[in-house]
Amino acid sequence: MIDNFLVEFKPWSCEFDVVHKDWLFSLMHFKGEAKYKIPVLISYAYINRPFIMDLYEEVSVVRKLINAGLDVWMIDWGYPKRSDKFFKIKDYIDYIDFCVDFIRNKKGVPYITLHGYCLGATLAIIYSSFNSGKIKNLVLQAVPVNFHTENTISLWAMHIDPVKISRALGNMSGELLNISFLLVEPVKLGLKYLNVIDNVENKKLIKDFFYMDHWIFDSPAVPGYVYEEQISKWYHRNELIRGEYELDGKRVDLNNITMPVLTIIAEKDNLTPPETTLPFFEKIPSKDKKLLVSDKGHVGLTVSRSSHKKIWPQAVDWIVKRS
């Protein structure tokens, strides 16, 4: 029986080069034949690993983009150590800016498509609000902007003191975050392996399940200062949607989101439910904005086979038409 659980884990189905490394962060460039002028830069959430976008061939968002003829780049936010405690959100935004300029120069184009996922999409919005001229299209996947919801994770975040956590631990550890995410539904998530045990002969199901598990438990820590800023300014004070969030003394104005925007949300998302995104979608002045709704959860949106049949062809088509 055990043999069936021994899944050989090899994330990343697409080939890429790491074209720039900068302490904690790096920029990846995927190999492929680009037919369209405008490159796509993916900014994934810094609390998980970005290979979820290319977990394996059948459910790879990256592969879909490459196969459509797009030139795909991705930021890897790395694994912060104790010495990275003092990184701030501003450092992340600065690196996006560096990557955008790097790609614009390499490709000789004035702007790019910026594709963010979860907290990586929150960073993409902040960046785009300051640099709308460099962003041709903005693609936002399960993006939290309105943090005051009745969602359990939001309620918990509103009742913790992030300064005490970063003071004691240095960084918010990935293990602690994982335990919190599982504790949101302790019986349902704690017993999800029962289905695997029942279907031990189903190799496809076992592979899907343990590939996901490898990704779930490969969680980088969040740098202490980033965590403080995220919890106190975004969760406690909901500064982003209120238009009060400042970066380096400059206010993030959502009225600057005038470029074409594709927003993808998941109905069963228990981490960033639709109400974290919808007020933002309604608020931005972009004249060319589209909302795609998946019936999956936060991660199923990216890796479920049904999303790859229903949602991603539409999303890729939207990007291609504007590239």
Binding site: M1, I2, F5, L6, E8, F9, D17, V18, V19, H20, K21, D22, W23, R82, S83, D84, K85, F86, F87, D94, F98, D101, F102, N105, K106, E150, T152, L155, W156, H159, I160, D161, K164, I165, R167, A168, L169, G170, E175, L176, N178, I179, L183, V184, E185, P186, V187, K188, G190, L191, K192, Y193, L194, V196, I197, F210, D213, H214, F217, D218
Partner: protein, 329 residues
């Protein structure tokens, strides 16, 4: 479910993330227990809250409780630093051990002296032999002097414990006392947190038992799904309730303060000890903070230099940007 062999378990441990390995094994055990309950239910017997449901609770929640309980036990580290009677007794036992060790070292020294004496007499010219003898003798004298002082200190050592609060700096003592207070608060909130989880589980199980005893589930799957659905619903209400949010928030807060103050206590002790050769985490953090600030300034300067060069060469058009870290391609 067939029994897992030891070698298979090892292979599984190597192949899976640690958490998946643990949760998978726990789920195998949970499935077996649920199946036993299902068989009892299917045979027409009434279910009751007993050992088996209690064992299920432990299997489901151990994963969540363990990190907190490890921290609770970590308190022993601090307890070892207090001059408690049992610790003084254990120190006495340690002296016995040290004396035995000293006797062993004396014997070893004698052994080497004899062996050297014998071998030097055969292989070495007299002048070298006398040099080595002299060196050995001077070492012996040094050690004897050390032992004489050591015995004197032996008695003095006990006074350290009577003077304990006066030996540490005030700040150090305060961190220790505050850490103990925080631990007490944390353990209180942890107990309440655990009770809330246990009580919610019990409420869910009672409801599940009531349903199971009033109707027949036609399959193990539906029996199991009902167990999960009812538990999930009860926990969803608990985990969003006002009291739970307060308890969890306070528990995390006091836990973090306990960890921070304990670390600061040790840091203060080391930082005030002139023979301590190590930098503390606090020192290293401060260095990293300053490095980060300098790095930001360098990046900002590089950016401005690039902009100026661009303006000069390309009339403002974007040119490749250099940045600390460097291009790989």
């Amino acid at each position: 479910m067939e029994e897992l062999r030891r070698e298979e378990l090892l292979e599984l441990f190597k192949a899976l993330p640690k958490e998946s390995f643990e949760l998978l094994l726990r789920n195998i055990s949970i499935r077996e227990r649920l199946e036993e309950l299902w068989k009892e239910h299917a045979s027409g017997k009434s279910l009751g809250y007993g050992e088996r449901f209690e064992a299920l609770f432990e299997e489901v929640f151990r994963f969540f409780f363990r990190p907190l309980e490890i921290t609770l036990r970590g308190f022993r580290q601090l307890r070892l630093l207090l001059p408690l009677p049992e610790l003084l007794e254990s120190l006495e036992n340690q002296w016995e051990l040290i004396r035995a060790w000293r006797d062993f070292i004396d014997s070893l020294f004698s052994h080497f002296s004899i062996m050297t004496e014998l071998s030097l007499g055969i292989t070495t010219p007299p002048i070298v032999k006398s040099m080595i003898d002299g060196f050995r003798e001077s070492w012996r004298e040094k050690l004897e002097r050390y032992y004489r002082h050591y015995y004197l200190l032996d008695v003095e050592e006990l006074r350290v414990y009577t003077d304990y609060p006066l030996i540490l700096t005030k700040k150090t003592t305060q961190y220790l006392l505050n850490a103990l207070d925080e631990w007490e608060q944390f353990s209180g909130y942890y107990m309440e947190f655990k009770d809330m989880i246990r009580n919610t589980y019990k409420t869910a199980i009672r409801e599940f038992i009531e349903i199971a005893n009033s109707k027949r589930f036609d399959s193990f799957q539906s029996f199991r799904n009902a167990f999960i659905a009812i538990s999930n619903q009860k926990f969803d209400s608990l985990l969003r309730s006002k009291r739970y949010l307060e308890v969890q928030g306070n528990m995390v807060s006091h836990l973090m303060d306990y960890l921070y103050r304990t670390r600061r206590f040790f840091e203060e002790m080391f930082e005030n000890n002139p023979i301590n050769p190590f930098a503390t985490v606090g020192h290293v953090d401060e260095a990293h903070k300053r490095i980060m600030e300098l790095r930001r300034k360098i990046i900002e300067l590089e950016k401005r230099i690039n902009e100026l060069e661009d303006q000069k060469e390309h009339g403002g058009k974007i040119k490749s940007r250099k940045r600390t870290g460097g291009d790989l391609k």
